[in-house]
């Protein structure tokens, strides 16, 4: 019934008031809008930077100068910007998938494993079918990456639906299996013989992602990510499917009452998120490393979750949030070179930002019952 009626925000709120969901602490449909979408994340980021000044001072450096070096490093040159955009690409792709999942209260934290298997699939195509013409090879490899990621996420969705294993635990465990799978193939069939580091042979140039602009060290991935963001935005806000996700996210009871199938929605949203994350893994190996490398997906899953939350689970907002993370990491590397401030600082900032964002989301819950 409602499923066939797109753009119906009122019924959601009406159902929400009638039967408040107490299952998960995501109450994105409450509180003033400006606070939720702009002020709260900005405040969280500012607080994180302020608190991080403390360890910088402890290590005997001037926090203001360090942050200035970070800013210059992030946006100071065309190369720096290209580097940061490349870094942001997988974060945005995986992050927008996570945002869609969290919207429907499907807590998928499995991007890391999905990226890992996506990378393996893309590498396998790139290495096995290197005789194909370049565009066909690249598209096939990325499609394979998406399918692999979707399958990996699908496993978690199926055991959630069939065996009642919470998707948080399922995706968490599959992350480790996925990253170990990368190590396994690199020490077996796909490893480069005689290399000092666990990695695959270099792909043939036909499999390399082309540059977006001639001369710039910026691969096409960011364009794919931007398209994905807009497609997800349309899906979420302008289709019956997106409406089902939002109903499910605001109240499972309301969703059941409105005839929204929980199982179908969970499966669909997990497959989409998995495909996006898998594609991110494919882009990472084809566009950045030109080979499969052990541990290439390290930390991506966390960043995807962090970015989705920082974006308030809004697909469009994932773009700035993801770029923020990419520029932050790129800037930190340059800060390390210039100031001798270790780049691991960036993890402190990211971790704190997350904690503060989560707290601000939790505060919005005061009205909710146990």
């Amino acid at each position: 019934m409602f499923a066939s009626k797109p753009k119906g925000a009122e019924p959601v709120t009406a159902f929400d008031k009638a039967a408040p969901s107490a299952e998960y602490p995501w109450s994105l449909l409450s509180g003033p809008k400006v606070w939720r979408t702009v002020l709260a994340p900005a405040l969280a980021v500012a607080l994180a930077f302020a608190v991080t000044a403390l360890p910088i001072a402890i290590s005997g450096k001037n926090p203001v100068l360090a942050y200035w070096a970070l800013l210059r490093g992030a946006v100071g040159s065309i190369d720096a910007i290209a580097f940061a955009l490349n870094k942001s690409t997988p974060y945005v792709l995986a992050g927008v998938g996570v945002a869609m999942c969290f919207r429907s209260k499907v807590i998928n934290i499995g991007s890391e494993g999905q990226i890992a298997v996506g990378g393996v699939a893309a590498s396998w195509i790139a290495l096995s079918f290197s005789y194909l013409p370049s565009p066909i090879l690249i598209v096939t490899a990325l499609l394979a990456a998406g399918v692999a990621g979707a399958v990996w996420a699908g496993i978690a969705a199926v055991i959630r639906l069939k065996r009642g294993v919470h998707e948080v635990l399922g995706t968490l465990m599959l992350n480790f299996v996925g990253t170990l799978f990368v190590s396994e193939v690199l020490h077996g069939p796909m490893g480069e013989i005689g290399a000092g580091f666990p990695q695959s042979p270099l792909f043939s140039q036909a499999a390399w992602l082309p540059s977006l602009f001639p001369g710039a060290n910026l691969h096409m991935g960011i364009a794919v990510a931007v398209v994905a963001v807009f497609v997800c935005h349309l899906l979420l806000w302008h289709t019956p499917f997106g409406f089902r996700l939002r109903v499910l996210g605001s109240s499972r009871n309301a969703a059941a009452y409105a005839g929204v199938s929980f199982a179908r929605a969970v499966l669909e949203v997990m497959l989409i998120a998995g495909a996006l994350a898998g594609t991110a893994g494919g882009i990472e190996v084809l566009g950045v490393h030109y080979r499969l490398i052990q541990g290439f997906s390290q930390g991506f899953g966390f960043n995807a979750v962090a970015i989705a939350l920082l974006a308030g689970l809004n697909p469009i907002a994932v773009l700035p949030a993801g770029l923020f993370f990419g520029f932050l990491e790129a800037g930190a590397l340059s800060m390390q070179r210039e100031m001798g401030v270790p780049s691991s600082l960036v993890f402190v900032i990211q971790g704190l930002t997350m904690v503060f964002v989560l707290c601000s989301m939790g505060i919005g819950l005061k009205q909710q019952r146990v």
């Binding site: 402890i58 480790f176 396994e184 971790g351 939790g362």
Partner: protein
């Protein structure tokens, strides 16, 4: 496989299980009170850092252990405040403090000691044979020729089991994890109980980290816990949130690690990565209901708010 190799393997399993066990026991406290312990990895890493740095600077292992408790508890305090007070999502907060602890330890290591990758070398704590018992064939060699902290960790399982299941305070803790509203109605403050349980668990996880840095490896390196906190999390699931079973889970995963370490020497036909996957696959299988049904603490993951 000869007997001596088998004994060596079993002894190694017990040794490797030690940090896992301490971390998992910390997680048992936290999760039975209703807070998912995804942050164990970060608490353990912070404990490993605090333990190694304090021991190195103060030249005193006891000071190092105390510092590891404080460091683990400090990270846990962040989780406790964010999840219990601010009702932040427990899973994601756990992930956040993991990354926070990774950044903080790596940053402070360089900030305090200078250089790109400073080395703080420490003598590892050697084995301590228990008189008489260590001479028992096989069992003596496996169980009673271990380093001091290994005995401490395994003995600690007993008081924690006793606390959880035989004391009033333990009952209150579990009640908060099962039904915080009911606990609140009889005068318990679920927020305080959860915070206390999480912070105490963080202290234990911190010691687990210190066991790794002081007893097993003898230095601190970036991200040295390397997923052990998550293996402990898997052990909690396999052990169905009960201390003694969790201990068995840790021993099982310790054995898996010991096999993975030695797999090349023995020429087994599986790769070490497949073996390293087993803890997560076993945990998934247990969650899927292989064997008996799993029952998590009923209110785990759900924030408490007064209605």
């Amino acid at each position: 496989m000869s007997t001596s190799v088998l004994i060596e393997l079993l002894a190694a399993s017990v040794r490797i299980a030690t940090p896992l066990l301490l971390v998992a026991l910390g997680g048992v406290l936290s999760e039975n009170a209703g807070t998912f312990a995804v942050g164990l990895e970060g608490m353990m890493l912070m404990g490993a850092f605090g333990g190694a740095v304090s021991t190195f600077v103060l030249k005193n292992v006891v000071a190092g252990l105390v510092a590891s408790v404080i460091c683990g508890a400090a990270i846990a305090a962040v989780v406790a405040v964010a999840t219990a007070k601010f009702r932040a999502d427990q899973m994601v907060t756990g992930l956040a403090v993991n990354i926070l602890a990774f950044g903080l330890t790596s940053f402070l290591l360089r900030g305090l000691f200078g250089g790109r990758a400073p080395v703080i070398a420490l003598p590892t704590l050697g084995p301590l044979a228990v008189p008489y018992l260590s001479r028992v064939p096989i069992a003596g060699q496996v169980l009673f020729q271990q380093p001091a902290l290994t005995y401490a960790a395994f003995l600690l399982t007993i008081p924690i089991h006793f606390f959880l299941f035989k004391t009033r305070a333990g009952l209150t803790l579990r009640a908060v994890g099962e039904n915080p509203v009911a606990a609140f109605s009889v005068g318990t403050n679920p927020v305080s109980v959860r915070m206390a349980a999480t912070i105490a668990g963080g202290g234990l996880a911190g010691v687990g980290g210190a066991v790794l840095s002081l007893q097993e490896i003898g230095t601190f390196t970036d991200g040295m816990t390397n997923g052990r906190g998550f293996i402990a999390l898997a052990a909690i699931i396999v052990g169905r949130w009960m201390p003694f079973r969790v201990m068995l889970g840790c021993l099982l995963f310790g054995a898996a690690s010991a096999i993975a370490l030695n797999i090349q020497d023995w020429g087994l036909p599986v790769s070490s990565y497949i073996i390293q996957m087993t803890p997560y696959l076993i945990a998934l299988a247990v969650l899927c209901g292989v064997g008996r049904a799993t029952r998590m603490p009923a209110a785990i993951g759900k924030p408490f708010t007064r209605s």
